[in-house]
Structures are given as structure tokens and as C-alpha cells.
């Protein structure tokens, strides 16, 4: 039993380390590409394609106005930019907020009964006549130059979708500071995955598609509350190119408290696992390139290894506590600390602590590259410490809950 535990632990560590090394090699390979990309994005845009941005809203009265104003503030020709706001049967003041924009020439407002985000997106897609169509969640804001940092990627006729770099709006709580680092890491990882054609999610905050994608592949699907993963996997399955623009900055509101974060992440993991199962033929299939052969299997295995390592750590800790309790019950507590002496012999010097140290060093290298890519310079904020310390404990919770929901066929709700 102990041997099996050790082998699984070694395998998990090997995969984590392999992924980190793979990312760093990719970074070394694409450094020049990043410089060229920055040059390309700083050039004047010759032709502005028409763009429709869909804003699906369900009970978003507090953030919606800012979201729409940020879209209206985009540095993009007004005659080429349309905003389609869809109220998905909100029960709060969302409609009232939308009413303020009803006469705006760039904005169309649609209302419908509540049916879920994908239905709101599909309703708007029916109305969209533009070259490009995108989505912006109603809790997110775009940088004024975000669209200009995305559109040039469509000069490559094979590019079918462009995702943006999502950052956290003004973190205030410890959890939000931790999420800020997490999102910065995602900016780095997505940019690396973009270079190898392995993006498997087109996030709600400002992913832009060629409208033909939906004409050819159909509209959004429920996707187990993860329509953004489903459409990306569908595109990958049909070998549609998805790239990332790390300079197109979008700011999103992140959960301030654990309860909301937990629900959000259970939904993310739940939808990823279900969609991964639906698209299982892509796994280990060379036909789908890096996304099939490596990235999807790693993403999937990381969820299960997190759960396994956590359960095994809990099991070992409980055994030690029981052992200490048995000792206490047998001979009582030894108050005689004078007999305590330091002996290096009793330090764990198996390969595991050294491998963990290696993994932590690589993680911090990735942190610094990610922070540099997101913020322009390496500056370690408190989130760098909050993120690993908190996430070690909370990631297993939502991973286990998502797996539990799948096994016991429990519905995972949006909120």
C-alpha cells in the first residue's frame, strides 16, 4: 500500500515538473515571437472589421453599467462596433440599468426568459451580422485598447478566435490577492498554450470569434455550465485555430469570499471534467496536436492528482494523530523537553522533499515570468504568498466536490 502511494506521488510530481519544464522551454522558444507580436500590435490598423460584443446579463445590476461604459470607451471606430446586451430574465434592477442605454446607436438590448448564459449568447448570435463576434461577461471591464490588441490577429485568415488577458479588478480581500496571482499565471500559461495551439477554453471575459465559427459549428451549448470550455473544445476538435493576445487586458470581478469562489470553481472543474469526457476522443490523439496529446491529459490528471495527494496526506496525518493519541493514552504526555535533542537523522531526506523543492523553485520562476508578462515588471505582491498557501488547502475542496457531483449526478449550479 505504502509503495503504491509513493509511486503515485512520484508520478504526480513527475507530471507537474514535466509540465513546468515544458512551459519554460516553450517560453524560451517564443520569446522572439513575443517581441515581434508587440511590434505587430503597436502598428496602425489598416482595416477595422465589424465587431459585435454580446453582454449576457443575469442579475448584474451592480456591475453592468461599468461593463457597457468600458465597451463604449473602446478605442475602435464606433460604426464598426456594436454591443448586444441580453437580459436573461433578471430579477433585480438589471433591466433598469440597461434602459439607460436603449437609445444609444451602438447598443441593442434584447430580453428573454431565463434560460442560462448559453441561450442568451445564442439569441444575440442570431442578430449579429458583423465579421467578428465576442462576449464580455457583465462583471468585467475592458481596457480601451483591448480590441485593437485583438483584431490584428485576425489578419491571419486561419485564426478563428482570440482570447484576452484577464486580470483581477482592485483586489481587496486575501482571496482576491491570491486570485490576482492565479489570473496572472493564467495569462502566462494561456500565452504559452496559444503558441502551441493548445488553448482549450475561450473565457467569457472578451473572447472574440470570427462569426463564421458559429455558422459552421453551431451556437453555444449548455456545456455543463461551461459553454466557454465546450465551444473551445469543439473548435479544437474541428482544428479551428484559437490564439491568445496577452496584451489585450480585461479586468474581471473575482469572488471576495470563500463561498462564492468555491461555487465558481466547483462549476469550472465540473464543466471541464464533463466536457473532457464528451470530447474524450481527443485525448492522446496525435491528430489534435499538443492539446490532445499533452495539455488535456495533464489538465485532467492534475485534478485527480490534487485529490489523491490531498487524501493521502490527510490519511497519513490522521494515522500520525492516532499514533500520538495511542501513545498519549498509553504513557501520557512527556513533559520532559530537556531530553529533546536535535538529530538530523530523523529529518525526511527521501527524494520527495527535494522534488517538492524543485517544483516550488520552478513555480516561482513561472510566477515571476507571469507577473512580468501581466504587469510589465516583476514585483512580488502579498498575493504571491497568499496564492500557494491558500490554494494548497482550497483547490482540493472544490476538485473533490466537482468529482462528487459527477459521480453522484448532482446538479452544479451557477450561483
Amino acid at each position: 500500500m505504502a509503495e503504491i502511494q509513493t509511486i503515485i506521488l512520484y508520478c504526480s510530481l513527475f507530471i507537474s515538473l514535466f509540465f513546468e519544464v515544458f512551459l519554460l522551454i516553450t517560453y524560451l522558444e517564443v520569446r522572439e515571437e513575443l517581441v515581434l507580436e508587440e511590434k505587430m500590435l503597436s502598428q496602425k490598423i489598416e482595416r477595422f472589421p465589424s465587431v459585435s460584443i454580446i453582454v449576457p446579463c443575469f442579475n448584474e445590476e451592480t456591475t453592468l453599467k461599468k461593463t457597457i461604459l468600458s465597451l463604449l470607451n473602446l478605442d475602435y471606430p464606433a460604426n464598426q462596433l456594436k454591443i448586444i446586451a441580453v437580459d436573461d430574465g433578471s430579477t433585480d434592477g438589471t433591466l433598469r440599468e440597461l434602459a439607460q442605454f436603449e437609445n444609444h446607436p451602438q447598443i441593442s438590448i434584447l430580453t428573454k426568459e431565463n434560460g442560462g448564459k448559453y441561450t442568451a449568447l445564442n439569441l444575440a448570435l442570431e442578430k449579429a451580422q458583423s465579421d467578428l463576434v465576442g462576449c464580455l461577461d457583465a462583471d468585467s471591464l475592458v481596457n480601451s485598447d483591448a480590441l485593437k490588441k485583438i483584431v490584428p490577429f485576425f489578419d491571419d485568415t486561419s485564426t478563428m478566435a482570440v482570447t484576452s488577458a484577464i486580470k483581477v479588478i482592485e483586489p481587496r480581500s486575501v482571496l482576491q490577492y491570491a486570485q490576482k496571482i492565479e489570473y496572472n499565471c493564467s495569462i502566462f500559461i494561456r500565452r504559452m498554450l496559444s503558441s502551441i495551439g493548445a488553448l482549450y477554453v475561450t473565457p467569457g471575459p472578451f473572447s472574440i470569434f470570427r462569426t463564421q465559427v458559429f455558422r459552421e459549428l453551431g451556437g453555444y451549448r449548455h456545456g455543463y455550465q461551461g459553454e466557454d470550455v465546450e465551444i473551445a473544445l469543439r473548435m479544437q476538435k474541428h482544428r479551428y485555430k484559437i490564439v491568445n493576445s496577452h496584451m489585450a487586458h480585461v479586468y474581471t470581478t473575482t469572488p471576495m469570499h470563500f463561498g462564492a469562489l468555491y461555487k465558481q470553481r466547483v462549476r469550472w472543474v465540473y464543466s471541464f471534467l464533463n466536457n473532457a469526457f464528451d470530447y474524450r476522443e481527443m485525448f492522446f490523439n496525435r491528430k489534435y496536436g499538443h492539446v490532445g496529446i499533452f495539455i488535456l491529459p495533464v489538465a485532467l490528471s492534475s485534478i485527480f492528482s490534487v485529490i489523491y495527494v490531498t487524501l493521502s496526506t490527510v490519511w497519513n496525518s490522521v494515522s500520525r494523530v492516532l499514533e500520538a493519541f495511542t501513545k498519549f493514552k498509553t504513557v501520557g504526555f512527556d513533559w520532559n523537553f530537556s531530553t529533546f535533542s536535535f538529530d538530523w537523522f530523523f529529518f525526511n531526506t527521501s527524494a520527495i522533499p527535494f522534488l517538492l523543492l524543485g517544483t516550488i523553485i520552478f513555480t516561482f520562476i513561472i510566477f515571476s515570468l507571469a507577473i512580468k508578462m501581466a504587469d510589465g515588471k516583476v514585483r512580488f505582491s502579498r498575493g504571491v504568498f497568499y496564492y500557494p498557501i491558500l490554494y494548497i488547502f482550497i483547490v482540493p475542496l472544490w476538485s473533490m466536490k466537482a468529482v462528487f457531483n459527477i459521480i453522484f449526478k448532482k446538479q452544479t449550479n451557477w450561483r
Partner: protein
């Protein structure tokens, strides 16, 4: 198109990191076992020295036997071997070899102790303890705590612990001499065999040698307190 070279490079770097970690861990593990071997050598030398001294007793008296007559390191040696046995990263063959040496050293120390008590008329203060690592033995675990606590309480008490199922001829001989049944844990105190779990209090009450040690410890404590008061 998949670039296999990148996978090979990433795999090679990861494998090198893994190999380095395993190599470093093995080196440290070897160093630790080397330390255990050094202690065993020291204990063997202590025993040889004591045996020589004992042989000379014919010409001298029991009064010449100092407090360092018997090796003090057997206890810590046992603890280290138990720890190494439960950890990964140690060579199991090396550990088996060191355990074998340890059990033999214990038996030699026990024989010396026995001869000393007979020759000099000292009341025996040693316990032969048999445990099992083959099957799950909760009582063995608890008994181990009790004996460790007793040894900490009475530094003069010598506990010789033996893995009942470990294949060493001398252990088998001890088992047959004292007719120890595989009903573990088992202890031999003054030729009397005790089976099963016994608490510290039980042993202190029922075993005369321990009562004597307890009395000696109380006297020592009392004299230390009175000396402290006088100072």
C-alpha cells in the same frame, strides 16, 4: 504538427532533476546508515572492552566496574533503525544487515549483563522484549511506548527488543530457551514470561526488579532535593 524534440527535451530535463533528487537522497540515506554502522561498531567495541574488563574481574573486584561498563548507545540505535525501516529512500538490504547486527549486539550485551549480575550479585534490571512486524500488532506498538517510557524513567533499565519473526539464529535460540510462544508482545523479566500488553503502572507493581529501580530512583531524587536545599 507535434514537435517531439520539445517533449524529449522536457522529459530529459525532468528525468535529470528526478535522478539528481534520488541520487542526493540515496547519498544522504547511505550517510545515515553509515552513521548507524559507526554506532554499531562503537557498541561492538564497548562490548569487547567490557568483556575484556569482565575477564579481568577474576583478578580485580566488582567495585572496579564503573558506570560506563555497559554501552549507552543501544537504545538510540534501535530508535534510528525503526525510523529508517519506516522510511523510503533507504536500502532495505542494508537495513536488514544493520538490524541483524543490532540484534546480535543486543544479545551479546544481554549475556554480559547477565554474567555481571551473577558475578557481582547485582539485581538484574533488564527486559527481553519480543514484538512482531510481520502481522499487525497494536499491543506491540503500545508495549513499545511503555518500554520506552520505562527506559527514559529508569536509565539503568536495559530493554533488549527483538523482532520475533526476524530470521536470526540467535533470536530463535533465545525463543526456544525461554519457550516464547508467538502470542506477542512477550516480555521476559527475571525468567518470568509476560504476554500481552502491560501498562507502566502494572509493571512497576508486579515486577520486583522495577520496584527496586523505582525505589532507587526515589532515593536518588530525595538525596538530590536535600543536597539542593543544603546548597
Amino acid at each position: 504538427m507535434i514537435d517531439s524534440k520539445k517533449y524529449i527535451a522536457a522529459f530529459s530535463i525532468t528525468a535529470v532533476i528526478f535522478a539528481t533528487a534520488i541520487f542526493v537522497s540515496n547519498i544522504i540515506g547511505q550517510k545515515k546508515l553509515e552513521d548507524v554502522r559507526t554506532i554499531e561498531n562503537r557498541v561492538a567495541l564497548d562490548i569487547l572492552s567490557s568483556e575484556t574488563q569482565f575477564a579481568l574481574l577474576e583478578e580485580t573486584s566488582c567495585k572496579d566496574i564503573g558506570p560506563g561498563f555497559l554501552s549507552k548507545e543501544l537504545g538510540s540505535l534501535g530508535g534510528k533503525l525503526v525510523y529508517a525501516e519506516n522510511q523510503t529512500g533507504f536500502n532495505t538490504e542494508d537495513i536488514d544487515y544493520l538490524k541483524r547486527s543490532y540484534f546480535l549486539l543486543e544479545i551479546k550485551d544481554y549475556l554480559l549483563m547477565k554474567r555481571l549480575t551473577e558475578k557481582c550479585g547485582i539485581k538484574p534490571t533488564f527486559i527481553l522484549y519480543f514484538y512482531s512486524t510481520k502481522d499487525s500488532c497494536e499491543d506491540c506498538e503500545r508495549m513499545g511506548y511503555v518500554l520506552t517510557a520505562l527506559r527514559d524513567k529508569y536509565p539503568d533499565l536495559r530493554v533488549y527488543s527483538f523482532d520475533y519473526h526476524f530470521d536470526v539464529g540467535a533470536i530463535n535460540t533465545l525463543v526456544s530457551i525461554y519457550k516464547v510462544k508467538p502470542d506477542l508482545p512477550a516480555m521476559i523479566i527475571n525468567t518470568q514470561t509476560y504476554y500481552g500488553y502491560h501498562s507502566v503502572e502494572d509493571l512497576e507493581k508486579s515486577v520486583p526488579a522495577l520496584r527496586e529501580l523505582a525505589r532507587r530512583a526515589r532515593l536518588l531524587e530525595a538525596s538530590a532535593t536535600s543536597t539542593e536545599r543544603q546548597n
